[in-house]
Amino acid sequence: MEIINFLNLVFVAPIEDMVFYPIFFTEVVISGLLTGIMYSLVALGFVLIFKASGVFNFAQGAMVLFAALNLVGFIEQGFPIWLALVLAIVVMIILAFLIERFMLRYLINQEDIILFMATIGLTFFLQGFGEMLWGSNVKPLDLGIPNQSFEVGGVLLNEFDLFAAGSGAILVGVLAVFFHYTRIGRALRAVADDHQAAMAVGIPLKTIWIIVWSVAGFVGLVAGIMWGAKSGVQFSLSLIALKALPVLILGGFTSVPGAIVGGLIIGVGEKIAEIYWGPLVGGAIENWFAYVLALAFLLFRPQGLFGERIIERV
């Protein structure tokens, strides 16, 4: 008797809830989608840099925090919002230049693990530097984006989340076009395959990297604004990088659409699991559930949804 109701509890009951309370279920799905977009924004930064320079940039999370801190700092200094935004972008471009000048230039063609570790070093540096400049207390970020929620057919929606989803979609469109059809995009993809081969063909590696890291900085800023406005600019922002990893696993390291779709799946999956299966095992399962989901995918497609197939010749 024990086992049957245990099985019922785990499998049957949650499905029943979903079917009987559709409205609540859609709300959960929508909020999952919105958090998914947040994840994909961060994942996008990873994909950009990995696609263009073959570097698995773990410091993307710290860049999101750093960009948000600069923005808030400038606003507190009394700059109007649009000027603060411009200044934040300029700071990110300078940061990209510094990273290329003092780090990447010396690490051309090193193994991936070495570059990966360098970005972790960069994470520590950015956290320390950001908090030194602007202090480490939680700062509210209000950009005047309307934040009321309204009902549509019984489902609770929030303007802010829609705005975030919209900006995310626009960003993805711009980047996809940029990568596939512009001259620089093709150069970026060449650099990702083989640094030296790209240099041999005459692609100015250094300028390419500066461009890539500044665009990633910009994406980081957008993600920072979205996260910051929602839960305030504070240290935990840099931990979302850990959340972005399963998204990359799912979507594959090198595909922009993969990052978006992956983000949504993880977002929704996490929310559902948390609401329906969470209480059974004591809650707070969202931080590892994403990984288990990604792992499950990985076992069937080792290179993720959209990644290229890994072929090894003898």
């Binding site: 698995f56 003092f102 780090m103 010396y106 690490l107 090193q110 193994e111 991936d112 693990i113 070495i114 990966f116 570790m117 360098a118 972790i120 070093g121 960069l122 994470t123 520590f124 540096f125 950015l126 956290q127 320390g128 530097f129 908090e131 030194m132 202090g135 480490s136 850990l242 990893l245 399963p246 990359l248 696993i249 390291f253 095992v281 004591g282 809650g283 707070a284 399962i285 931080n287 590892w288 990984y291 288990v292 990604a294 792992l295 990985l298 076992l299 080792p302 290179q303 993720g304 890994i310 090894e312 003898v314």
Partner: protein
Amino acid sequence: MLYRETGQFKISYAADQSVFPISQDRWFVSVVIAVAFFVVPVLASEYLLQAVMIPLLIFSLAAIGLNLLVGYAGQLSLGTGGFMAVGAYMTYKLTTAFPDINIIIVFLLAGLIAAFVGLIFGIPSLRIKGFYLAVATLASQFFLLWMFNKVAWFYNYNSSGTITAPPREMFGVIITGPMASAEIRYLVTLCIVIIFAFIAKNLVRGRLGRSWMAVRDMDIAAEIIGIRPFQTKLIAFAVSSFYCGLSGAMMVFLWLGSAETEAFSINESFNVLFMIIIGGLGSILGSFLGATFIVGLPILLTNAPQMVGLSMPIDMQKHIEIMLFGSLIIFFLIVEPHGLARLWQILKEKLRLWPFPY
């Protein structure tokens, strides 16, 4: 310059394959061990032992474990913190359940359980490699921490959720728990670390070590020679988790005295990964050097300002410490991507060739 190798010729394969074939190396290592055993416990202050020496040894053991997996077998893993937690909690459970078993035996049993857990989380390595595997092991890290947080059975349902090291004794001397003195705990840690470092060295230079390195360098060629890549990777995961579990157990019982899951967070995994990268992948000595660097550096940075005399507000000092830590890691990766062990190797090579350049 210090090496005098003339006349040191080998008359048997055993001598040729010994751990330290050159007598100067043997002499140097035995002096270091002698100092560690006799001089340090006597001279070192309570603070130095507790804050520097014991953590350094414990993290060296974890670094050796991870180096076997990442450096020798080439399987990237970020789950070290989780396996250390397994070691710690299992020791707590075992020693509370069977208080009269010798604490060292309990450590080893906990290590075996950690090895088994490591084996399970090693299964994905069959199909996935590189970064993907790193993220899979990250899953084990989060899952294990979540389990030790949520499931009260692991900490015997006490309210605070932390596990504390009960006093245990061996040969009539109290070695764990609050009453155990720093010197005793230091000596016990030292013995365990030296024995297991020696065992790691033996594993690495024998058949197993070669099959690990073969799988690391080119697993297709290894497979065709007759090495079963999957079994080899699993053994690597098991042995590595055994070392991490053991060091986790020692961390709670011989160093901190008590801990909760926060002590085994993702930062520990990164720290240990730093140690073997900075120290040098694929070298037992590198694990020791890396541990010394990563454990020693923050302590140096914190009390460097006092030494130099300029006083700074605490949080500013904390930020600068993190900044310096990050930039030093980048600096090291640029100067010598193969870590301190490679610098040590180059220095040794130069000394043996002295005064000639080649």
